[in-house]
Symmetry: C2
Subunit: 335 residues, 2 copies
């Protein structure tokens, strides 16, 4: 049973049926409206999305672009996004950009073409805003960025206090007597990694520990990246390692083991994110936890609120981190 | 610029525009067609999906339901699905069922309502096929199940040879001299886990090792499930452990360490799936690899082929496993 059948039986056009069902049929006569509604009732017709939305444009669909769906951080963000959308009857068209700016753009274009009501874009890249903005600076489509602040804007920021999180992690190491502290950072210009890096650097500075260029290695934020980065860093005389994220720390564990060293006896390690898996590593990983699920949840909430109230400013939201002490750090013997 | 503008300027109905753009406008006069196409050209109008598809019903969208998007197995399956769909310009509406049959059903209903062209349903549950089938047994909508065979059917099966995979894993342990071999299984009635269990059992039988009920513990197929299950199994005098999946093995590693035992010195461990992370565990995990990405890829391929050729039978596809030897197993000292 389609809208075509309803239109045919009521002797009106599809547009007429659509507008009446969407309560935009004021311009039609009461007779026409009654005729259409009677057929709808008789056929037990439930408008499908295409018919229903051709006029109202309420597709109850949002697009979401992430760099990698198999990344434990982003899959947790998606879970948070879905939690809120699901409660409201919205669905997600999910797109995997594979960390490519070009693919992000293609997906955004395709999503615009598909009349999604809004877009959540999680990206490690500076985003080509022209795809999302009109020439006059207004939004082409409501959108929220999960970019940790890399794209400057004064509303709709969802930002974890990364500087503070990193600072506390490194300070913890310093308080345990470590002065040779390496960092696994990221080779792209991620703002958040930059912020984690600044937290690291500022802490060393505050404790008058000279900063050493060779204590920083930049790699992908993956297990493999952490493994390769740690192999390189272990050439240096470091007694502690602050990792750009938990996945890097998992790779670092392996590299440290292969180098014949033990955690935390020979080297202390701290991760970042607070993934569940860190509880199960041997030893369990001390990590800077951030509320990943909540970041997704609020991205969805702010987007839907913005769709419903397009004239109101989108709020900013700042999330705090928490240093979760487990078993991968140890007081330096000589301290 | 919407289809309404085109219709208004051409002086025809929206349906007329839609049908002409979808090359279903044979019944209109050449003049009408030319008028519409001229306006379309003038406005540089690209039909949006709702207008374009109201008639053709080609939404180029498929729905996909998975039990848990943060599960490393399912996120890899999604990656495979997207790889194929992406090449063809299809997009995915992704739904997270949270392992709930009820939620699966709600999502399927919602997807049907949204005119997706097909559904991929990854589920650990016997599926309520009435949602997907008409009363006469025909399909309500093209669909592919990634259920590892739990729902019986004679076409569209995507099945890994789990029995063989499990058998080879256990045989490897037996060949290393192990006779006290525990298994971390799953508490639901997963067919594949059952098949893995049968492979385990048959191998013991073939090597005349008496099967012991208390060597089997059933838990969730998660890191936490593996941790709890292994804690329980370590009460038994086992020298080797076959895990229902790699994620369980990660949890088992932790439990074994807490029990003061070393892998593989005191206990040999084998996982199942072949996740990338198994290379980085300490020690690296011997595992039964299955082609997870390919399973997703073929699910998408078979679905699209079926959408395009609805009268042809959907093929079955069987995937082989491969025992990947790493460093978590060892010949029994006494052997």
């Amino acid at each position: 049973m389609t809208i075509k059948d309803v239109a045919r039986l009521a002797g009106v056009s599809i547009t007429t049926v659509s507008q009446i069902l969407n309560k935009k049929g004021d311009r039609f006569s009461p007779e026409t409206r009654q005729k259409v509604l009677a057929v709808v009732k008789e056929l037990d017709y439930k408008a499908d999305y295409f018919a229903q939305n051709m006029v109202s444009k309420q597709t109850k669909t949002i697009g979401m672009v992430v760099p990698d769906i198999t990344d434990l951080f982003f899959s947790k963000v998606i879970e948070g996004v879905e939690k809120h959308l699901n409660e409201l009857g919205f669905m997600i068209i999910l797109c995997n950009s594979n960390h490519s700016s070009e693919k992000e753009n293609l997906y955004i274009e395709e999503l615009l073409h598909r009349s999604v009501e809004g877009i959540i874009l999680a990206s490690p890249n500076p985003i080509h805003l022209p795809k999302l903005k009109n020439e006059d600076g207004s939004n082409k489509i409501p959108h929220i960025l999960i970019d940790r602040g890399i794209n400057k804007r004064d509303e709709g920021q969802l930002i974890t206090n990364e500087f503070q999180g990193a600072y506390e992690a490194v300070e913890h190491l310093v308080n345990l007597g470590h002065r040779e502290i390496g960092m696994l950072s990221n080779e792209t210009s991620f703002y958040e990694i930059t912020d984690r890096f600044y937290g690291y650097k500022k802490c060393l500075e505050d404790y008058q520990i000279p900063f050493q260029e060779e204590w920083i290695v930049s790699k992908n934020l993956t297990i493999k990246g952490g493994y390769e980065g740690a192999q390189q860093l272990l050439q240096q005389n470091i007694t502690a390692l602050f990792c750009g994220n938990d996945q890097m720390a998992i790779g670092a564990y392996r590299a440290i083991n292969e180098a014949g060293k033990q955690i935390p006896k020979d080297i202390s390690v701290i991760g970042y994110d607070g993934l569940e898996i860190t509880d199960y590593l041997v030893p369990s990983l001390t990590t800077v936890a951030q509320p990943i699920f909540e970041i997704g949840y609020f991205a969805a909430k702010f987007l839907i609120d913005h769709i419903n109230n397009p004239k109101e400013k989108v709020p900013n939201k700042y999330f705090d981190t928490q240093l979760v002490l487990k078993n991968s750090t140890k007081k330096l013997d000589s301290f």
